[in-house]
């Protein structure tokens, strides 16, 4: 019995570690949709780009932590540029247009990564002092996984705090709540969407870089986390950050615990759970904005 419980515990912890990465990518996806009705298929490519920028900065000679700090800055810049150059042009168009455009953008970014960095996989070593194993209840866990999960959660908490307590957050919440009313009282929606798109790209890139020592870096690394993130966002309720947090935990723990007990059936279980929740609550667990 104790043995069984311990096994469950190990898998829940493993799930939550993955969930912390998922949370970072989901928050951005949710914000961008909540504010701009943009279904961003390129979000996974930002995640991958984060890993590659990390590698490049490290090759120049920077240490892991410095490179990790540079990644979100670069990715935010890329996000801002792409929003201004592409997404903004589609703002008055139906949602499917942004969907198709970001799908194309995703293919371009992945193709661009293959062109610039090649297609092969790169292993990134965990930073000094984080290579070993730590024992929790006599189970082995890699120290780096805990450090990375902690850092992710810290970042996520920061995002939630910004949205909750700063003037920027106030404007974000105003737009998400009622875009027309917010604009009427002087919130510059266009500028805000631009900023949020950039920050979301930065967050996704940060997650990709942080995950590099665990999952390695390759051009298509963003695909599976993109699908998982969509599930998280829709499960939690589009535009709801609280929902994304719950969603990330549900999705990741289902994957890990399901994987441990049901192996190959774990993904089917995940999709069944998401479908059931949506049928019961079409707007997700915590809906804030209106669903189109």
């Amino acid at each position: 019995m104790a043995h069984e419980l311990n096994f469950l515990f190990v898998n829940i912890v493993n799930g939550l570690v993955y969930g912390s990465f998922l949370l970072l990518t989901s928050l951005g996806l949710s914000l961008v949709f909540g504010l701009g009705r943009v279904v961003n298929f390129a979000h996974g490519a930002f995640y991958a780009l984060g890993g590659y920028v990390l590698i490049s900065v490290m090759r120049v000679g920077a240490g892991f932590w410095l490179a990790l700090a540079v990644v979100p800055v670069v990715l935010t810049g890329i996000g801002l540029a792409l929003e201004a150059g592409l997404i903004r042009r589609l703002r008055k168009r139906p949602e499917v247009d942004t969907l198709l455009a970001t799908f194309g953008l995703s293919a371009m970014l992945v193709g661009g990564i293959e062109y610039l960095w090649g297609t092969s996989t790169t292993i990134v070593k965990p930073p000094l002092g984080f290579e070993g194993i730590v024992q929790v209840l006599s189970n082995d866990f890699p120290i780096y996984r805990f450090a990375a999960a902690g850092l992710s959660l810290l970042m996520a908490a920061g995002v939630l705090a910004i949205v909750q307590w700063t003037p920027l957050g106030l404007r974000i919440r105003a737009i998400a709540d009622d875009a027309e009313m917010a604009e009427a009282i002087g919130v510059d929606r266009s500028r805000l969407l631009w900023q949020v798109f950039g920050y979301a790209a930065g967050l996704a890139g940060f997650a990709g870089a942080l995950g590099a020592p665990i999952f390695a870096v390759h051009p298509e690394m963003g695909l599976s986390i993109l699908i998982d993130s969509f599930l998280v966002v829709v499960l939690g309720g589009l535009g709801s950050l609280k929902g994304s947090t719950i969603g990330a935990a549900v999705v990741s723990v289902t994957k890990a615990v399901g994987g441990a007990y049901l192996a190959d059936w774990s993904t089917a279980l995940l999709f069944l759970i998401v479908a059931s929740v949506l049928v019961a609550r079409p707007t997700g667990i915590f809906a804030t904005g209106r669903i189109a």
């Binding site: 198709l100 194309g104 953008l105 479908a275 997700g284 189109a292």
Partner: protein, 330 residues
């Protein structure tokens, strides 16, 4: 049905344009059927594939373009139809009509159940639930090894037979697929011009208002869902004969993405758009993957350019140029 005429109003135009449509249609028909004698064998191979995909894209267009239910999991009906037709052809009879009928029966049963659940939703929730349904079927295809043979896939599907005669790959199968594709196109065009099509568009535009004037929204959505899946199953069944087999990848979300891209690229909510989209997709994909290591980049670039420059897809091109000319002439 005053609503009907007003919604079709956009399509209603002068007699000349109807004549032009018929003329262009007849020319296209002749060109399609004459192709085996004019084009190279491999062009026919690609066209066959494109027309099969065109049927699939048209089925998605019915659901997403006309009924407004954007599906992220449209590989479901396609893959399911492929497995059912392929299994029947290999184990029971390679008769193409019987195999496809069997496939349609299987797809109908699953679609009727899945549809009853999925159409309760709309918007993004529908998209994600449709994705979930397809992914569960994908997992079933991997795990139900006794029937599907797992990731190896269903292999060794024989050449199709029609009225006792074997239909060879190449020109004969191409003609069969072309006829089915054009019949589907014509059938869908008629259906969409009928009150049923108008009702679907009314639901797409505003389902609450549609319900308030007495339309049974759920019934119509369910019908669109089931018909759409069955057409997708027809395409899947034809594809399994073309490729002599299928794998769980035919149910994967990346395939759902491909058909969505073809359809939107061709023109969501139009009639011939999906056919154009599928043909362009197949030929572009073949040329780019064969010539460029960075084909993904160019592929993506083309989509981005098309979306920005031609918002209504390929099918909207003539109208767009028409508008341009009209603007200049003023």
């Amino acid at each position: 049905m005053t609503l009907t005429s007003s919604t079709i109003g956009t399509a209603a135009s002068g007699r000349t344009s109807a004549l032009v449509t018929i003329g262009v249609g007849a020319l296209a028909l002749a060109a399609i059927l004459a192709a085996p004698w004019l084009a190279k064998p491999f062009t026919i191979t690609l066209l066959t594939e494109a027309f099969v995909l065109a049927i699939w894209a048209m089925s998605l267009n019915l659901l997403s373009g006309h009924a407004g239910l954007l599906s992220f999991g449209h590989a479901a009906g396609f893959g399911l139809g492929g497995y059912a037709a392929g299994y029947f052809a290999r184990e029971v009879s390679a008769d193409v009509i019987l195999s496809l009928l069997f496939a349609e029966a299987v797809v109908f049963i699953v679609a009727a159940l899945a549809g009853a659940v999925a159409i309760r939703l709309s918007g993004v929730a529908f998209s994600i639930v449709s994705l979930c349904i397809a992914q569960v079927l994908y997992q079933v295809a991997i795990a139900w090894r006794a029937v599907t043979e797992g990731m190896d896939g269903l292999l060794g599907v024989p050449l199709p037979r029609l009225f006792g005669a074997t239909i060879k790959n190449g020109a004969p199968f191409y003609i069969l697929v072309s006829v089915v594709m054009m019949a589907t196109l014509a059938g869908l065009a008629l259906v969409l011009k009928s009150p049923f099509g108008a009702t679907l568009r009314a639901i797409r535009t505003n389902d609450i208002r549609a319900a308030s004037i007495g339309i049974d929204v759920r019934l119509h959505k369910w019908l669109a869902f089931v018909i759409s899946w069955m057409l997708a199953g027809l395409a899947g069944g034809l594809m399994v004969f073309l490729k002599a087999g299928t794998t769980p990848m035919s149910l994967h979300w990346s395939e759902s993405g491909n058909v969505l891209i073809m359809t939107i690229f061709g023109g969501l909510g139009t009639i011939v758009g999906p056919v154009l989209g599928a043909v362009c997709f197949v030929f572009l994909h073949d040329v780019l993957t064969s010539t460029l290591a960075i084909w993904q980049f160019v592929f993506g670039l083309i989509f981005v350019v098309v979306v920005i420059a031609f918002p209504s897809g390929l099918a909207g091109l003539p109208a767009q140029f028409g508008k341009l000319r009209w603007r200049f002439s003023r």
